[in-house]
Every structure is written in C-alpha cells, then in structure tokens.
Amino acid sequence: MTQAIQTEEKQVFRLPDVLADTATHFCPGCHHGIVHRLLADVLDQLGVVQDTICVASVGCSVFIYNYLLLDTVESPHGRAAAVATGVKRANPENVVFTYQGDGDLAAIGLSEIMYAANRGENMTVVFVNNTVYGMTGGQLAPTTMVGQKTTTSQQGRSFETDGAPLKMTEIIAGLPGVYFSARVAVNNVKNIKKAGKILKKGFANQVQHKGFSFVEFLAACPTNWRMTPVEANERVGGEMIDYFPLGIFKDNDNDGL
C-alpha cells in the first residue's frame, strides 16, 4: 500500500483537449507546432475554447483547423485581419484571432493588419515571423534579414534594393488604436514560458474588451533556412533576436506584465 502510493504517477505535462490528437504536416523542428500548442494552452486556460473563432490564413499554418478544434474560417492570403474584422463586428461576443505568417501579414496583408490595428478591433493577432515564405518554398519575405539567402535573393537580401526587414511589432505599437503589442520567441524554455504568458495576456485583453492585441512569434523554418532544426533554433536565439528584440512594445495597462 505504501509502495503503491510511492509509485502513483501524476501527469505533469498534458496536451489540452482543443489540440487535435493527430500528426502535423510541419517539417521537423518547425516552430509552428510550438506556437499551435501554446495557443491551445492559452485558450484552454482562459476557458474560451467554445467561444473562439479562428481566422486561418494562407501559409504553412493553413491547416490550423486540423490541429486546433475551433470554429474556423479560411481567409484569402493576407486578408485575415479584414476577415477577422468582419467576424468580430458580426459576432462581438466571440473571441476572435488570426494566425498569420510574415508573408501573409507583413507583405500582401500589410494594409489589412495596419487598419485592423488602427481601428482598434477587439481581436488578437498571432503573427509567426520565420523570415521566409515557408509554404511556397522559401522566397524573400518582408522580414528576411539583410544578407539572408532565399530562393529569390540568392545573393542575400540587399538593403539597397529590398529595404530593411519590417519590424511589425514596433510599427503596430506605434498606432494609437492598439492596446497591446509584443514580440516573443519559442526557442528555449524560458522564452516559451514568457511567450505563453504574453499570449495569454493578448487573449485576456480581448476577453476584457480592451482592444487590439498583437503578438509576434520569432520562429524557425529549418527547411527553407536549409539548416538542421537545432541550427535553425539557434539562429532564432542569435541573429533573429538581435534584430527583432523581444519584449512588450505597447501595453495600455502599462503594468509591464
């Protein structure tokens, strides 16, 4: 009896039910998978799974509905923020979020995200910045680092002809209508825990009707970076964070978390 008690196990890590029990289509070491799990966790923690509408975008995360068991609508490439505006204005009582890559949000969808942010739509934006167009095979993205080689910048991104990588979190933070804007990473446990807290805040803001919350995730795309997953993960912690600093760039609560 004593022995039995001694070996009784507790599951200390469990996946929330909203996360589907299925294999993903992501490449080995792709950070989308980590962000998906964090999202599931946050929605679960806040108890809003049944209230949530996911606005999917076009990119490697296009199958998000296969993994997060939520009411979901698919957007044309880049237009998730406009679609989400329509959803939220139609159903203000729902928790609405978009999940968008850097090509989707910062290139073709720049106008839509800027305007949703500026209008202060009461929604949450999950922005996954992996410095490339992942899904289409690794072309130059708005966030590709200067010097980074891609299939359409084979000599590396040139500041002169392509400009500087866009710092979306800072740009969004600069708009008066925005309530919260922060950048996180999931390259190590400390950053993952921090990212989870910030993401939770990004959704709690919406639940509390505070307004527009924007959370940028720095993410690895080992495949298109032509690196091993571990190398790619290290690049996030090094080069990427150097240029895209982590932190909260705007928080109307002003409590710095």
Binding site: K10, V12, A23, P28, H31, G33, V230
Partner: protein
C-alpha cells in the same frame, strides 16, 4: 522518479527536446517510425535521471512527449 513518454509515431527527430533537457536524458535512437523519421529515446541508463521538468515537452513541435512524475518526486523544476 519521473519519466517522459515518447509517442514515436509523432516524433520527427528534430532534437529540439535534447537542447532543453537539463539532464541530457534524451538522444536520437536508431529506430525509424512509420513516416521514415529517426526518433528520440531515453537510453535505459539515463532513465533514472529524468526530473519530470517537462522542458522537453514544452518545446516539442510535434507534441510527441508527455511527462509523468512520482507524486512524491524530488525537487524537480516546476511546470509553469
């Protein structure tokens, strides 16, 4: 004593878990799963060392890991 459970058919052998395990308990095995990926495992010799900190599970992009801990397990890292 704690332990990590690996769903081998999910693991893609990315090794991110190995970069965060404070005890260096995980490593690549020789086994291939049905999708053709080499998967990680915990060699028998290291099984004792797992602290149940869940770091590995937190970073796993393929949700391949679950972690169990003895109810009276030692001073392991707290999950969150």
């Amino acid at each position: 004593m704690s332990r990590v459970e690996i769903r081998e058919n999910r693991c893609k052998g990315c090794l991110l878990c190995t970069t965060v395990c404070p005890e260096e308990v995980l490593c690549l095995s020789d086994r291939m799963n049905s999708s053709g990926y080499k998967v990680v495992h915990v060699p028998e010799s290291l099984q004792e060392k797992c602290k149940g900190c869940s770091f590995c599970a937190e970073i796993c992009p393929d949700w391949a890991l679950t972690v169990f801990r003895d109810k009276k397990g030692g001073q392991a890292h707290e999950k969150k």
